[in-house]
C-alpha cells in the first residue's frame, strides 16, 4: 500500500517529534512510503515514476492514501487537501493543540466533507493509535502488526554475541531479528490448541 505523508517544514521540536514518530510507525507497518517534511523522499520505483511523468500524471494519484500533519496552516497543505477532496482519496488530517475550526478546513464553510477525509486531533500519547486505526481502515492486508509492547529480556553473553554477529552488517536491529524469528515460529505453529487460544484472545481484546 502506498502512503504519502506531508508535514510542513518546521522549527518546532514537538512537530519534528511527531514526524519522527510517524515515519517510524509507517516503516514498522510495512507500507510503501513517500514523504516530504524538510525534504522529499519519493520512495517509488523509477519505472513507475518515469511512466507517470511521461503521460503527464502526478505521483500523488498513485498513492492509496494521504496523511497530512495540519497543526499549522500552510500553502502546500492546502494544495494536498484540495487534491484529496477533489479525488476523494482516503486522507488522514492530523492536528494537535488547535481547534479544528482554525485549520484550513474552515474555508470550506462547514459543508459536508467526504467520508474519505478523516480529521483527527492527536496527542503524543494517542498519535500511533489514531494513525494505525486509519491505516487499518483502508482494508489493505499489507499493514503489518506494529510492535508496541515493551518487553525486557535478559540474555546470556553468548546470545548477545550471536545477535550482534547476525545483525552487525545489516540494517536490522537485534530486536528486529528476534521478532522475525518469533514471527516465523508463530507462522509455523499449526496446532488447534494455538488456534483456539489465539482466537479467544482476539475476541477478548
Amino acid at each position: 500500500m502506498r502512503i504519502y505523508f506531508f508535514g510542513p517544514p518546521t522549527e518546532r521540536s514537538d512537530l519534528k517529534r511527531t514526524y519522527d514518530t510517524l515515519l517510524s510507525l509507517f516503516r514498522r507497518a510495512g507500507v510503501e512510503l513517500s514523504y516530504q517534511t524538510d525534504h522529499l523522499e519519493i520512495g517509488l520505483p523509477k519505472e513507475l515514476v518515469d511512466r507517470v511523468d511521461a503521460r503527464g500524471g502526478m505521483l500523488l494519484d498513485e498513492m492509496h492514501a494521504l496523511i497530512l500533519e495540519g497543526s499549522v496552516p500552510n500553502q502546500e497543505l492546502g494544495f494536498f487537501l484540495a487534491h484529496a477532496l477533489a479525488t476523494k482519496k482516503p486522507t488522514l488530517f492530523l492536528y494537535a493543540g488547535v481547534r479544528e475550526q482554525d485549520t484550513l478546513l474552515k474555508y470550506l464553510g462547514g459543508e459536508r466533507l467526504p467520508s474519505s477525509l478523516v480529521i483527527k486531533r492527536y496527542t503524543k500519547e494517542n498519535l500511533e493509535d489514531v494513525t494505525l486505526a486509519f491505516l487499518r481502515s483502508l482494508g489493505q492486508k499489507e499493514i503489518r502488526e506494529v510492535p508496541r509492547i515493551k518487553f525486557t529480556l535478559r540474555v546470556t553473553k553468548t546470545i548477545e554475541k550471536y545477535l550482534w554477529w547476525k545483525t552487525h552488517n545489516t540494517d536490522k536491529t537485534k530486536a528486529d531479528f528476534i521478532r522475525e524469528k518469533l514471527e516465523e515460529m508463530i507462522q509455523a505453529e499449526k496446532s488447534e490448541e494455538w488456534k483456539r487460544f489465539f482466537e479467544k484472545g482476539e475476541e477478548e481484546s
Binding site: Q36, I42, D53, V72, F79
Partner: protein, 346 residues
C-alpha cells in the same frame, strides 16, 4: 524556516476550457456569466487554497478566440493586478498556446503570475467533440479540477510571468509548443526546459520573491492584417501578390532552410518593402539568419507561433520600420532562445 501562512487571493478568468466532464451536465461548463457560481460550487476545493474572484471573458470554442479576447483578458488582469496574488485563466486547450504567447507580449512587467490551464475534456456540444475526445482519451484521469488546483497553487507561488499549467508541467508562455507525434503530453517546451513540474507537490524552478507592486499597462494591440507565407520551392507566389495588392500591414515568410529565395520571390518581397512600405519578416525555421541583404528582417530561435504573434504584436505597437526591426530583434519576454547577432540587423 517554515513560511508564515497568509490567506491569499486569486483572480480566476473564464475564457473557455471549463468542462468538468464529457457529459453536458448543468453547471459543469461555463458558457455564460450566469453559470459561474454554479460551476464554482462544483469545484469548491479552491477555497482551501485561496479566495477566488471570478471574471467571465468568453465561453465558446477555443478555435474562435481572437485578439479581442486576448485584449479583454489582458485588460482585466491589468486593471486588477494590484488586488490579487496571481491569476488563473481557463482556456480551451485547442488554442491555449497562442493565447499564452499573446498574453506574454501584452502583459510585460507583470507583478504576479498569470497561469493558463484548461480541461483535457473538450466542451460538450463542440462540433469536434468526438475527434477531441479520441485525442485526449488518455487524459480523462487528469480532469480540469487537477489542472485548476495545480494552476492556483502555481499562481500563488511562482515568479511573475505568463505560463501554461497542464498535466504535470508548467511551461513558459513564449516557449509552449505542440508536442511532436508519439509524445503523450500535448504540450512541450521549445527550449526543452520547463518552469516547474508536479510530482507530489509543485516544484518550481524559480519561486516568487518579494517583488514590489508595479502599475501594469497592457500592450494588447495586435495587427492581424498580415500574410503568412510558407515558402516551398516552386509554389505559387499568389499570396504575396495579394498581400501587396490589399496593402497588408506585414508579410511573414516562413522558410525551413536558409533565407535565400528565387529571384521572382525576392523581387516581390523587395517591391513590398521598398515601394509599398510593407515590412517583410523572414522566419528561418532552420535557425540560419544570414540574408541576401539587410532590407528584410530575419528572425530565428523562437517557435513559429511565437514568431507570428510577435510580428502581429509589434505591428500593433508601431508602424515605424526602424522600431519594427528593433523590437523583432529584441528578446522581449524570453521568446528567443538564440538572440540575433547585432550585425544581422540593419
Amino acid at each position: 524556516m517554515a513560511q508564515k501562512y497568509e490567506r491569499k487571493t486569486v483572480g480566476l478568468l473564464f475564457a473557455g476550457g471549463t468542462a468538468l466532464g464529457p457529459e453536458p451536465v448543468r453547471g459543469s461548463i461555463v458558457t455564460s456569466p450566469k453559470v459561474v457560481n454554479q460551476w464554482l460550487k462544483k469545484v469548491r476545493e479552491f477555497r482551501v487554497l485561496a479566495d477566488v474572484k471570478p471574471f467571465f471573458i468568453y465561453g465558446g470554442e477555443a478555435a474562435n478566440i481572437t485578439p479581442e479576447h486576448w485584449k479583454a483578458i489582458a485588460e482585466t488582469i491589468a486593471e486588477h493586478a494590484d488586488r490579487f496574488d496571481g491569476f488563473v485563466v481557463t482556456h480551451g486547450i485547442d488554442t491555449i498556446d497562442t493565447t499564452a504567447i499573446a498574453l506574454s507580449f501584452a502583459l510585460q512587467d507583470l507583478p504576479c503570475p498569470v497561469i493558463l490551464t484548461g480541461s483535457p475534456v473538450p466542451d460538450p456540444g463542440l462540433r469536434l467533440q468526438k475527434v477531441m475526445s479520441n485525442l485526449f482519451t488518455g487524459y480523462h484521469g487528469l480532469g480540469i479540477t487537477a489542472n485548476l488546483i495545480n494552476a492556483v497553487q502555481v499562481a500563488l507561488s511562482a515568479k511573475p510571468g505568463v505560463a501554461v499549467m497542464f498535466g504535470n508541467q508548467l511551461i513558459a508562455g513564449t516557449q509552449i509548443i505542440r508536442s511532436p507525434a508519439g509524445v503523450l503530453q500535448p504540450f512541450s517546451s521549445q527550449s526543452g526546459s520547463v518552469l516547474g513540474k508536479v510530482d507530489f507537490g509543485v516544484r518550481l524552478e524559480m519561486k516568487r520573491s518579494g517583488e514590489s507592486a508595479k502599475r501594469l499597462k497592457p500592450l494588447a494591440a495586435f495587427d492581424t492584417n498580415i500574410t503568412v507565407f510558407d515558402y516551398q520551392p516552386n509554389v505559387s507566389l499568389g499570396p504575396i501578390e495579394q498581400a501587396i495588392a490589399k496593402r497588408a500591414s506585414g508579410i511573414f515568410v516562413r522558410t525551413h532552410k536558409t533565407p535565400y529565395f528565387p529571384t521572382e520571390l525576392y523581387d516581390l518581397m523587395r517591391r513590398a518593402t521598398d515601394e509599398e512600405k510593407i515590412p517583410v519578416v523572414i522566419f528561418s525555421e532552420g535557425g540560419e539568419t544570414r540574408s541576401q541583404e539587410q532590407r528584410f528582417t530575419v528572425i530565428a530561435g523562437l517557435s513559429f507561433s511565437a514568431a507570428v504573434i510577435k510580428f502581429m504584436w509589434v505591428l500593433g505597437q508601431t508602424k515605424r520600420k526602424k522600431d519594427i526591426r528593433r523590437l523583432l530583434a529584441q528578446n522581449l519576454v524570453g521568446e528567443i532562445q538564440k538572440p540575433l547577432r547585432q550585425e544581422e540587423v540593419a
